[in-house]
Subunit: 270 residues, 2 copies
């Protein structure tokens, strides 16, 4: 069996991970990709850690049946609670947006003063905070939960005055804190990057983990000699509920239309 021709699997709680898939498709244009959005149980950001771990393992089991050569966990909330258990149990290599984002952040911030913006659960897990303080104990970390960003973005209010007010509401605590860099630790947030930049201040470098995760995938596949030869790629999309809605929203997040979305039943594993 030629492993090079196997697809890369990507998993997110909903459609947000499509911003990561877009970067992967851009950097690895020959690869087959299979994306699973657990739209039946989105958002993970407000679930308990136990529920998130269970859902992540179910999603991984589904993608492993597709015989993937690499798994990208394109969901910060899932990574925050499940990356270790996945890296232990998953028979293929796992790349998580959390670790990719972390490395890019610390490079840009020179280990000084950083902010983490994410869902309630990502921030509450403390994973980023712990990762940073373990390796850079002198860094000052400012974590901010921004739970309304996702629903505002999914409503398409990317440039609405209400979104600006909400960004101010969450981020004004960071003004005059002399932050060097801030991590957009949720796959949705790049879509309102200009509003976040305005609210946090123009001097703060914003970091998007999607590109970093895609680059990590490229580096791994190159080193492992697992790149797919130049061919037309096949992109597959699965959602656990409401494929029509997934299809409609995909344009916003993936940048191009996604017509065929299959239903995935994680419970039966088919």
């Amino acid at each position: 069996m030629n492993f090079n021709n196997l697809p890369i699997g990507l998993f997110d709680s909903g459609v947000g991970g499509l911003t990561v898939m877009r970067e992967v498709a851009r950097l690895l244009p020959n690869e087959d990709l299979v994306y699973l959005g657990d739209t039946a149980r989105v958002p993970y950001g407000t679930r308990s850690p136990e529920a998130i771990r269970k859902y992540t393992l179910e999603a991984t089991a589904f993608l492993l049946k597709e015989k993937i050569k690499l798994l990208i966990v394109a969901c910060h909330t899932a990574c925050s609670h499940s990356l270790e258990i996945l890296q232990e149990r998953c028979p293929v290599p796992v790349i998580g947006v959390v670790r990719s984002g972390f490395e890019k952040l610390m490079l840009k911030a020179h280990g000084k003063r950083v902010a983490i913006l994410g869902t309630t659960s990502t921030i509450g897990s403390g994973l980023y905070q712990n990762l940073i303080l373990q390796q850079y104990p002198l860094t000052e970390v400012f974590p901010v939960a921004c739970p309304l960003f996702v629903p505002l973005i999914e409503e398409g209010l990317l440039d609405h005055p209400a979104t600006k007010l909400i960004a101010e509401h969450y981020l004004h605590v960071l003004r005059n804190k002399h932050i060097d860099a801030a991590l957009l630790a949720c796959t949705h947030y790049p879509l309102i990057r200009p509003i976040i930049q305005q609210a946090i201040g123009p001097e703060v470098t914003l970091i998007e983990p999607a590109e970093a995760a895609a680059r990590e995938a490229l580096n791994y596949l190159t080193a492992a000699k697992l790149l797919r030869p130049k061919k037309q790629p096949h992109l597959q999309f699965y959602a656990t509920d409401d494929p029509e809605k997934f299809s409609r929203m995909a344009k916003l997040f993936f940048g191009s239309e996604v017509k065929k979305v299959h239903i995935a039943n994680l419970f039966k594993g088919d």
Copy 2:
């Protein structure tokens, strides 16, 4: 067995139905009540009709094991998709906030020009629109989906300028439409009633179905001679995920603290 002493069951996708439970506790102060919030799968408002029906039947099965004498479906989205199937299959009487709200609305509006404000799924189901046009074919109905109200309310932004802008964003289409009455067809919305009133115009009567549903329960139990004798009531709370969060949010929706929240596992039915 004395049926009078059995509890009333209430079900919602999350904590919003506690606004209905509060009204039931006020009008029926001797009754034992058991509340189930399916917090593991909230919000229903963005799920498919099939998923909502499945979840509603699972929740009902759980409450029936508690030996209830009456079921109140305190979730508009669940009602919109499942009330008929429930009324067919459920061995105890079922009261749904949808029908209670509808009756109160038509009474106040004298069957003329009405608005329905709800989640994407409640509005998309067309249930209210159909109910009204079947019985009052000359009524003009203006349905408006307001999906951001729930997350804004759950963030506690009950009086925030962003919530006002979002209310304007959704409701400005109703200005100058000469609406007589508008139904708050989501259990959360009463918490931002003043903002909704301001955005929709002071001349529009706002209808909350919670009180109507509680009155329907009182009427049914009185007629069926199923009222519980005067006793200290026992209130029980179940959530399918994160009972601590349920407990924290309950104060906002139920009006008083809820300390003990049990975990309900709908899948195993225990």
